[in-house]
Amino acid sequence: MEKRVTFRGWWLPLLLIAPQVLISAVFFFYPAGQAIYQSLFIPDPFGLSSRFVGLGNFEFLFGDKFYRAAFGTTALFSILVTLCSMIPALFLAVIADRLIKGSGVYRTMLIWPYAVAPAVAGVLWLFMFNTRVGVVSWYLGNFGYDWNHVLNGGEAMGIVVVASAWGRISYNFLFFFAALQAVPRSVIEAAAIDGARFWRRFWTIVLPLLSPTTFFLLVVNIVYSFFETFGVIHTITAGGPQQSTTILVYKVFADGFVGQDLGSSSAQSVVLLVVVGLLTIIQFKFVEKRVHY
């Protein structure tokens, strides 16, 4: 039988959750409501007039094959960013966990990149991969590989994924490292005595015990790649070449702030809201079942 603490009246519990409800209402529900409302209109940029179009903005969006293609681009981008930021982070955390000397320095160094803003990270990576003066493209050139992300869509995707994932490795590292420290030594030692080698211990004991952290990071990283990466894309490729790096959130930004098309931009925000909501539900329904707390 689960133990439950219950309040006797209504006043105290309501008072206690009020700040959270208030913050959610002001900063989440109100803007989201505004976006839904705006998505039904085609306004002029200055807010002088507004024409009700019902679901016209959505019809316009889904009639556009480039918008539909942006879903595929976003899926590919999110999967790559999530993998590229989680796998190296786990690897680094496992190594740091085994360090005895100097782990403090090592940890600090690994956390640093997280302090770099996405747009700045974008500029740094762009500079390294610059087709003319970039260090990386120069070395690739020496190996006979002609790096040109301004015309090659695959390469452009590669560079925005790396630039987006780079800073996140630090964040993920922190969580993995903390989780690794919490894995009971006795279990690992018992396995070691039974003759299990490092990798076997890792796959059969450590990884399953890390699953709550991994699941949390999976959700957080997917949301990150959906929403917070447009600074990187804006500075590196601006969605190009052609449309190979135009993800949904970048299109929201470009249509709203470059094109001044607030109706379409709002409709896209609503679509994005629904997509992320669905993704989170799916993750909690299906992935979480395999998580052991």
């Binding site: 085609i42 306004p43 002029d44 940029p45 200055f46 807010g47 002088l48 024409r51 179009v53 316009f60 556009d64 480039f66 087709t131 003319r132 003066v133 301004v150 015309l151 090659n152 601006a238 969605g239 190009g240 070449p241 052609q242 449309q243 470009a254 249509d255 702030f257 470059v258 094109g259 001044q260 098309d261 109706g263 379409s264």
Partner: protein, 436 residues
């Protein structure tokens, strides 16, 4: 101690309203940094020193897009400046917002400041003028594309640096010779849509869009998939495939390559002068933008790029008077001549151009007058007055995407431009719906 503090406060409160009453403040939001930002600051300081009725306060609001966004957001919040700098592609957006902007000719008439519409260069003011001839905004910084030549690179590849490059036919032959002579970057460009589509159309006197390039109405459609445009892009696409035209990006990334001496030919704005003349460690030339011999009425005139100053609604009469005086000061011959000579931007008045010539500037800096001649040689036609298309910043983005399809060999020029037309027209219809 306490008394003297109160005394100081009393004096300061007494003085402040007096100063505020004497000088009406005029806010001026612009997009310039670096050298251009300093020149704007100097213009504003000169104006403020020249009279005591108005104080112009300049503030930098980010790049062109950001400045426009700042102006729009401020208008929605009721905090708009009197004068806002808007780049040329935002012209249709501003024009359509009749409740948000006050046309320049009205501001000038109300303020009583000196204003002679005929003194402005036709091809420059045309971009910002209605079909009835009323000026809507003041052209501030205007430039037009020209061809920059690295003479040393030509010589190194065994090509005569004085070769005639006035037509694309000649340029094509020169690119062959440069490539054969070992040049790795024969041609590079900046602002591909502006130069190789918008200006190409005007220069050959063929339409870029229906309804006089959008001047005659919002029900305009793109016509950039016409014969002349497709033929040019087909040639450029072939040059890209052959490694004779090197694509470096959507903006002016190619400028870095050219200024470093890595490329032989460079199509770029005449305002590239400041950067090229200070950085290039090689002999360079300015030539008129090439045209296709026998296509359309080439050479007609090229069109401008840059920004103009818009006066916004919602202020009182004294502030409009101040704004009018400031715009009048900016149009004066001395200010314009200095701006033209310092920046490489076009002079906006005929007088300023003449003053610059009389001062011997063009003789000392050969080639700096080519842009002026190219713009003013012929009376602009309906096809070469400029472009006035809604959502044009975004349409340029679409054009950039489609051009990248040509340069990479994924699409033919016809396919790419047909697609650009279809996608651009959809945005034009939305703009029409939003501004009906």
């Amino acid at each position: 101690m306490k008394k003297s503090l109160i005394g100081a406060l009393a004096v300061s409160t007494m003085l402040t309203p007096v100063a505020a009453m004497a000088e009406t403040e005029v806010q001026f939001w612009h997009a310039f940094t670096g050298r251009l930002g300093e020149l704007v600051k100097a213009q504003v300081a000169d104006f403020n020193a020249s009279q005591s009725d108005y104080t112009v306060v300049e503030s930098h609001k980010g790049n062109y897009s950001e400045t426009l966004n700042a102006g729009i957001a401020a208008f929605r919040a009721g905090e708009q400046p009197q004068i806002l700098m808007v780049f040329e592609v935002g012209t249709a957006t501003m024009m359509a917002a009749s409740g948000a902007v006050r046309p320049m000719h009205e501001v000038m008439a109300q303020s009583g400041a000196t204003f002679e519409p005929d003194s402005y260069i036709g091809a420059v003011k045309g971009y910002y003028t209605t079909t009835d001839g009323d000026m809507l905004s003041l052209p501030f910084n205007a430039s037009t594309p020209v061809l920059w030549v690295n003479r040393d690179a030509m010589t190194a590849a065994g090509v005569d640096p004085d070769t005639d490059l006035s037509t694309w036919q000649n340029v094509g032959a020169t690119l062959d010779a440069l490539k054969a002579g070992g040049e790795e970057c024969p041609l590079v460009t900046a602002w591909q849509s502006w130069i190789h589509l918008e200006n190409l159309s005007a220069y050959h006197d063929v339409p870029f869009a229906s309804q006089d390039n959008g001047f005659a109405g919002l029900d305009t459609e793109l016509m950039l998939n016409g014969e002349a445009q497709v033929a040019h892009l087909t040639a450029m696409g072939q040059w890209a495939q052959d490694g004779k035209f090197i694509y470096t990006g959507r903006r002016n990334e190619g400028g870095a390559n050219f200024r470093a001496g890595e490329c032989a030919l460079f199509t770029e704005s005449s305002a590239g002068y400041a950067g090229i003349s200070s950085e290039a460690e090689f002999e360079f030339d300015v030539r008129p933008l090439p045209y296709w011999e026998g296509v359309g009425n080439a050479p007609q005139n090229t069109i401008i790029g840059g920004a103009s100053l818009w006066v916004m609604e919602g202020h009182d009469d004294a502030e409009y008077k101040g704004a009018g005086e400031f715009l009048s000061y900016l149009s004066s011959s001395d200010v314009q001549a200095a701006w033209h000579q310092n920046t490489g931007y076009l002079p906006i008045t005929i007088e300023a151009g003449d003053a610059t010539r009389a001062a011997g500037f063009y003789d000392e800096n050969p080639g700096t007058d080519i842009a002026v001649i190219q713009m003013t040689a012929k009376q602009p036609t309906a096809n070469s007055k400029g472009l006035r298309l809604g959502s044009f910043d975004q349409i340029r983005g679409i054009i950039d995407e489609e051009l990248e399809g040509i340069w990479s060999g994924d699409k033919t020029a016809q396919e790419a431009m047909d697609s650009a037309k279809e996608r651009g027209d959809a945005l034009l219809r939305r703009f029409e719906a939003a501004n009906r």
